[in-house]
């Protein structure tokens, strides 16, 4: 059954059950992924999938249900389940099916050129990446992850208020992880490159960066426990910001789960810190012209020179605070309900390069990698205590690699104690939102080692 017929029949059935306003969210994805291991295709995956989510208002409450099977039988399943679900809801918050924004920007998120690249060409490129890694050093004992994935997706929101929006996008990324070995010492490093422009992949450059990182960590040992000035390298800073970006969600603020409650227009960080949410960012993994409620998106300064300017809102949280939605109504997929999440959120880069930042330090610890973020960081309180790797800086130069340390602090205190914001913006692996940061020099964090 085609999706438009499905929609017509669904809305008719829903009206029969008494739903006043209704919405259909439809998503269809195509995916190709492949892994190379020692020159051979180790895995080759293709997929076509998707699903629909129905939501509708009955007596002021919103009911949700979804299915991956798009057939006649599913129509009665969806409306029946949605009606049962809404009967459980206590929340008295007003529910809205959105009629549409006045203006939507047109985004070019779909590359015809990328869509035309053959799977064979993708495999050839990936084989080169693996070969380059091995060619660069005999100490590379294995390339334990050499993956390419390309996605295309189409989403549609259609409702009984007359809104019908569609958006199509595609993207490709490579993820490589190498293992370096010297005697008994084993170290690994990984790298993600994400783009919409296939010709931008440079196998030599990708291999060089990841191999050099792995080699540079060989021979790492711990350091003496104590408080150190810290340079959080871009990737590590981004992964930390990602965990704590939930504090900007108006939903968390309203539910008492954010330290940023009642802080609007107050300084929450050093004046060097400006945090932007940009749904139009080119090569942004979460770029979109409308959010999951159909609200038009826009670029937003969340924090401006240290001052908190706004929370991230969907329609419901905005209504509660008596403001307009910021276009952050987000559905992880058709399986979820509407939450709040950033699009492409990042700390605006400064001037100094990473090397210049190092040159400016007499003694400091560089943190390149943080582990256990899902368990060692408390998104509510801001406290973190995380396993980390990095380098020791002495006299403005990297002296040696370090590992087997933990770094601890409080994210919100840290924002106030940032002394330098680097110019090297980089994004963490997408999870919820796509979050980035340049390298940050922080006055002091507690490092536990020897």
């Amino acid at each position: 059954m085609d999706i438009l017929t499905f929609k017509e029949n669904l809305f008719v059935k829903g009206a029969e059950l008494g739903f006043s306003d209704m919405e259909l969210y439809f998503q269809k994805n195509g995916k190709f992924s492949t892994k190379i291991f020692k020159g051979d295709v180790d895995s080759y995956n293709i997929a076509i999938d998707g699903g629909v989510s129905f939501r509708g208002i009955f007596e002021g409450k919103m009911g949700y249900a979804y299915t991956e099977k798009i057939d006649e039988e599913s129509i009665s399943f969806l409306v029946k389940e949605a009606k049962e679900n809404l009967a459980m809801i206590d929340s008295e918050d007003p529910e809205v099916i959105f009629a549409g924004s006045e203006h939507y920007d047109e985004l070019d998120l779909y590359s015809e050129e990328l869509a035309s690249v053959s799977n064979e060409d993708k495999i050839e490129l990936l084989k080169k990446v693996e070969a380059e890694c091995f060619a660069l050093s005999e100490k590379i004992s294995s390339v334990n992850y050499c993956l390419l994935e390309s996605h295309d997706s189409e989403k549609m929101i259609a409702n009984t208020k007359g809104l019908e929006k569609r958006e199509k996008g595609n993207v490709v990324y490579i993820f490589v992880s190498v293992v370096a070995k010297e005697g008994e010492d084993i170290k690994s490093a990984s790298k993600l490159v994400l783009t919409r422009d296939f010709s931008a992949f440079d196998p030599k450059a990708i291999a060089k960066e990841v191999v050099e990182e792995a080699l540079s960590t060989l021979g790492a040992t711990s350091i003496k426990s104590g408080d150190y000035p810290v340079i959080l390298k871009n990737k590590a800073a981004a992964s930390l910001l990602q965990v704590f970006s939930t504090a900007f969600s108006a939903d968390n603020v309203q539910k008492g789960k954010s330290r940023l409650a009642n802080k609007l227009e107050e300084a929450i960080g050093n004046s060097l810190i400006t945090i932007v949410d940009d749904p139009f960012k080119e090569d942004g993994f979460m770029s979109r012209s409308f959010d999951s409620e159909g609200v038009a998106t826009k670029r937003l300064n969340v924090v401006e020179h240290g001052v908190l300017k706004t929370y991230l809102h969907n329609l419901k949280t905005a209504a509660k605070d008596n403001v307009a939605s910021t276009g952050h109504g987000t559905k992880g997929s058709y399986k979820g309900t509407i939450t709040v999440a950033p699009s492409n959120l990042f700390i605006e880069p400064g001037e100094k390069s990473y090397d210049e930042m190092i040159a400016g330090e007499e003694e400091a610890v560089i943190i390149t990698d943080l582990q256990g973020l899902h368990s060692g960081a408390n998104a509510i309180s801001g406290d973190f205590s995380l396993a980390a790797n990095g380098y020791l800086v002495k006299g403005g130069k990297i002296e040696r690699p370090i590992n087997q340390i933990t770094v601890a602090g409080n994210f919100f205190t840290m924002l106030e104690e940032v002394e330098v914001v680097g110019g090297d913006l980089k994004f963490a692996l997408p999870a919820g939102g796509y979050v980035g940061s340049p390298s940050l020099k922080v006055k002091s964090l507690a490092v536990a080692g020897e």
Binding site: I46, N119, S222, K335, G376
Partner: protein, 462 residues
């Protein structure tokens, strides 16, 4: 679900380019998720996952395709597209699918879809009330309820054809205790391979109060000191540390390609002789159990480490090909969207002889981790990290003041060598384990154990 003739046609199409093995996985799953926040039911969502996974091997090459199309022509087309990636010589083969009847080892009393949602909601309200009223410092309680009813069909070109149903139910109790600007959290997430009877039989008071007590205790705790200390890890979810630090390194996923520190070491002493480590997917109605794995092989009890000697690994079909061995019934996947691979089910350290009291009394100074949080491990190096959710200082053989913000870091194989006491109070805890084939329910377990030295990262300094 598909009929046998359809499955046979899909296998035939999948092998049309010379593949030497093909497998069809059909999944039809109903899910319910309900969330209660601050005393009010905030979300209730239910839905149906449905799709088909097609896998083809050609030697060590594997191709996987999935779709939630359900019409015949489209499915055959997906199978043919997947087959195109195989460059072999089509041979003659005869397919004789024999439907296997399973004896269900995990009986279910109340299937989730036959229980009214209001009953589920009422339980959540009860849990909320207990946790919220535990102490006036409790400022927020969130209760999640989740059930799933998954029917699968698994068939392959070797003639296997099985159907299974997996039913799971879980509660997630999360608390926040606050004073001024300070907030600490507590949680408990019990679950089982059971229907609503799991909730009916559950000691709601115990789990709700524990979740609240942890948050309050941590609010009143000091920052944990850092350094190298003896660490006592209590039973149940404490087993997560060996799940991450050893379990993942024993999966064919990393062993077959020699990316694991445990590769090629069967027969070697990898742990003190007091350590026996087992993975058992047959434990009746446990969270990580099932009748068959996601390749249709019967689950079994696999002894991985016996009295400190490495005995074997967790192996799936593709891993078995690479390693020249047999499957151990350990192949799992989150859904039809993932090719299955070797994973843990219910993994635990077998009980030893010491009583918990003896272990504490024998420790002059150290850290006692009553409840562990999550963590992760780099399988290539064995380096791990874990959060302690509720920790204490042990002083002069007694549990002393609570400490918060502690992280344990170390190297799995090395930590394993340092286990010096194993308790007699084995218990299991429930978790979701994320890896190559998605996020799957897995039990971790152990009795109380002591490790002679682990690096503890805290914010108090030395």
């Amino acid at each position: 679900m598909l009929n046998q003739a359809m499955i046979e046609d899909l296998i035939t199409a999948a092998l049309s380019t010379g593949g030497d093995f093909a497998e069809i996985f059909v999944e039809d799953k109903f899910n319910t998720n309900i969330a209660l926040v601050g005393g009010k039911i905030e979300n209730s969502i239910s839905g149906r996952d449905y799709g088909i996974g097609i896998r083809i091997f050609h030697g060590l090459n594997s191709v996987y395709a999935y779709t939630n199309e359900h019409e015949r022509e489209k499915l055959i087309d997906v199978a043919l597209q997947a087959a195109k990636a195989i460059k072999g010589t089509p041979g003659d083969f005869t397919l004789n699918l024999t439907r296997q009847t399973l004896t269900n080892q995990h009986p279910i009393i109340h299937k989730p879809r036959e229980v009214e949602k209001i009953k589920k909601v009422n339980t959540m309200r009860e849990v909320y009330d207990i946790a919220k009223n535990y102490n006036e410092l409790i400022s927020q309680v969130t209760v999640g309820y989740k059930d799933e009813q998954q029917r699968v069909q698994i068939a392959n070109s070797e003639g296997r054809f099985v159907e299974d149903e997996r039913i799971r139910t879980r509660l997630a109790i999360q608390t926040v205790a606050s004073r001024g600007n300070e907030m600490q959290t507590g949680s408990y997430l019990p679950g089982a391979h059971k229907g609503f009877e799991f909730i009916e039989q559950l000691d709601l008071k115990h789990y709700s109060e524990e979740a609240a007590r942890i948050a309050v205790t941590m609010l009143n705790a000091e920052e944990c000191p850092s350094g190298k200390f003896p660490v006592i890890i209590d039973n149940e979810f404490g087993g997560v540390i060996f799940h991450e630090a050893c379990g993942h390194g024993l999966e064919a996923t990393s062993v077959a390609k020699k990316n694991s520190v445990f590769a090629d070491r069967v027969g070697e002493q990898v742990a003190p002789s007091i350590v026996t480590y087992i993975d058992d997917g047959t434990l009746p109605n446990e969270w990580g159990s099932a009748n068959v794995d996601d390749e249709g092989e019967a689950t079994r009890k696999n002894v991985l480490i016996e009295n400190g000697i490495l005995k074997g690994y967790l192996v799936d079909k593709l891993g078995a090909r690479r390693m020249g061995t047999e499957s151990t019934g350990s192949s799992r996947r989150e859904s039809y969207k993932y090719a299955p691979t070797s994973r843990m089910s219910n993994t635990f350290i077998a009980p030893g002889k010491s009583t918990p009291e003896e272990i504490i009394a024998n420790t002059e100074f150290g850290i006692y981790a009553k409840y562990m949080g999550g963590g992760s491990v780099n399988p290539a190096t064995g380096d791990y990290n874990f959060a302690i959710n509720e920790g204490y200082i042990v002083r002069d053989g007694k549990i002393a003041e609570p400490v918060r913000g502690a992280t344990l870091i170390g190297n799995g194989p090395k930590t394993l060598q340092k286990v010096d006491m194993v308790g007699n109070n084995l218990a299991h805890g429930q978790g979701m384990c994320g890896s190559a084939s998605g996020s799957i329910p897995a039990n971790v377990g152990q009795p109380m154990i002591r490790v002679s030295e682990i690096t503890v990262g805290g914010r108090k300094g030395k």
